[in-house]
Structure formats: C-alpha cells, structure tokens
C-alpha cells in the first residue's frame, strides 16, 4: 500500500492547511492517547506530569509533530529521510510498533475535530497511508 503521486499531493495539501497548528495538534493527540489508551503511559513514567496539556506533554507533542513535518518533506524517501529517527526508535526508545497505530489514530481524530471541512475522506485515506508509511520507516531497524 505505497504512496501514489496523488497520495503525496493530498498529504502536502492537507499539511499546508494544518501545519501552523502543529504544536496544538501534537499536544492534543498525545494527551488524548494517554487518556484513551492508558497502557501508553508506561513509556512516560519518567515525566513528573502526564496530565493532558501539561508541560512535558506539550513539549513532546511538539517534538512528534516536528518529526511528522520532517516526514512530509522527505515523503519521496521516508526510509532514508527518517534514518536517524528510525535508529533512535529501534535502539533507544524501543516503542512497541502497535503504538504507532494508536498515536496515528489520535492524530487523525484531532485533525478531524480541528479541520472538519478539510479532512475529507480523500484527505483521510492519503494521510492515513502516509502515517502508516512513517510508522513503517520508524520501525525499519527494529529487527
């Protein structure tokens, strides 16, 4: 299920509309993930505060969206474009790949709630495919 030229165009078009809200999207998506999927909190036990909208959550949401922004710019070659992040996830973070799906779903929910008119079914399928491809690139070096 690789990204067609049409998918890439749709992702870039959607990103152009939503990227100024990237920090807010990241913070909301991460907060939501920790609330709706409490098992994900196990990765953040070192944070003093895991509550929605807290400083560590906001900072981390911003970081995650920075990664997505990078991925959009490297959409033609995610495997190489995300090499550093891929190594980080494989050797240091070791986040179980099921969680990529979970966070992606939360990002989609947030984008849908913030941009209901832009998040059409066509934009949704392209963006979902893109986030799946990003997850695949991030788990490239796991084993």
């Amino acid at each position: 299920m690789s990204l067609t030229p049409k998918d890439k165009a749709a992702v870039k078009a959607l990103w152009a509309k939503i990227s100024k809200s990237a920090d807010a999207i990241g913070s909301d998506a991460l907060s939501r993930m920790l609330t709706v999927y409490p098992q994900t909190k196990t990765y953040f036990s070192h944070w003093p505060d895991m509550s929605p909208g807290s400083a560590p959550v906001k900072a981390h949401g911003k970081k995650v969206m920075g990664g997505i922004n990078l991925a959009v710019s490297k959409i033609d070659d995610l495997t190489n474009g995300l090499l550093e992040l891929s190594e980080q996830h494989a050797f240091q973070l070791r986040v179980d790949p099921t969680n990529f799906k979970i966070l992606s779903h939360c990002v989609l929910v947030v984008v849908s709630s913030m941009f209901p008119n832009d998040f059409t079914p066509e934009a949704h399928v392209a963006f979902d495919k893109f986030l799946t491809a990003v997850a695949l690139a991030l788990s490239e070096k796991y084993r």
Binding site: S31, R32, L34, T35, V36, P52, H105, L108, V109, V110, S112, S113, M114, P116, F119, T120, P121, E122, H124, V125, D128
Partner: protein
Amino acid sequence: MVEWSDFERATIQDIFSKMEYEVVGPAALSRCLVVYPWTQRYFGNFGNLYNAAAIIANPLVAKHGTTILHGLDRAVKNMDDIKATYAELSVLHSEKLHVDPDNFKLLSDCLTIVVAAKLGKDFTGDVQAAFQKFLAVVVSSLGRQYH
C-alpha cells in the same frame, strides 16, 4: 459484565440523543469504503463505488449507513447487556453476511472520526475514551457468535 462509570453512561446517551443519523451514518460508511477500499467487497450490488465522489453520492451507501447507525440504538438502550442484545446480529453477520469481524473495527474508527468532526472541541479525550469503549464493546459483541 462491562462496568460503566456515570460519566461514560451520560456521555453515550448524550452523543446519541443529539445524533443526526442521516448525516453521520452515511458519512461514516462512505468514509470507511473510501479509506479502507477492501471493505467494498461486501457491497457488490450497491452500484457505482468507482471513486470517492461516487461512493459519497451513492444513495444505497447513504441508506445503509443510516441503517447501521440506528443499529447502535439498541446498545445505547441496553448498555448493561450489549452482548445479549447483539447475539442475533452477530449470527447474521457471521452466517449470512460473512463479514470478516476485523471490518467492524475499521467502521468504528471511521465513526469516531466523523463524530470528532461534528463535536469539534467537545470531543475531548475523556469523551473519546467513553465513545471508543462503547464501540469496542459493540464490536466485540458482534464478533462473539462467529465460529
């Protein structure tokens, strides 16, 4: 037995009491058919599903989307025994419709996204958690009679 908090019960009743079935049902089903095109396998006799525009404009898809959403009403009214409430529908989906139960999750994810679009910032993390828990119980009940 599924335990529901007061907040969860109130949230589910609230969402469905304000639900615009003829808008949300069609939107959720058509989104599912666009985002997960392999689900179209179950709708061979629905006519033109050739592209996203055709799917969204298709009156059979719209009608069926509304039907499916109303199917959730019984669970909303019987939250304390959704499993029994859907036993017959589960048999139907298994024996007659031959629907792979993994598809239930795909449709429920699309429904979540459509409801998020409708409710905007009112679709908080806690509301999402309650809604997804409800749908997870429905999905589990619908898959229960498969053998």
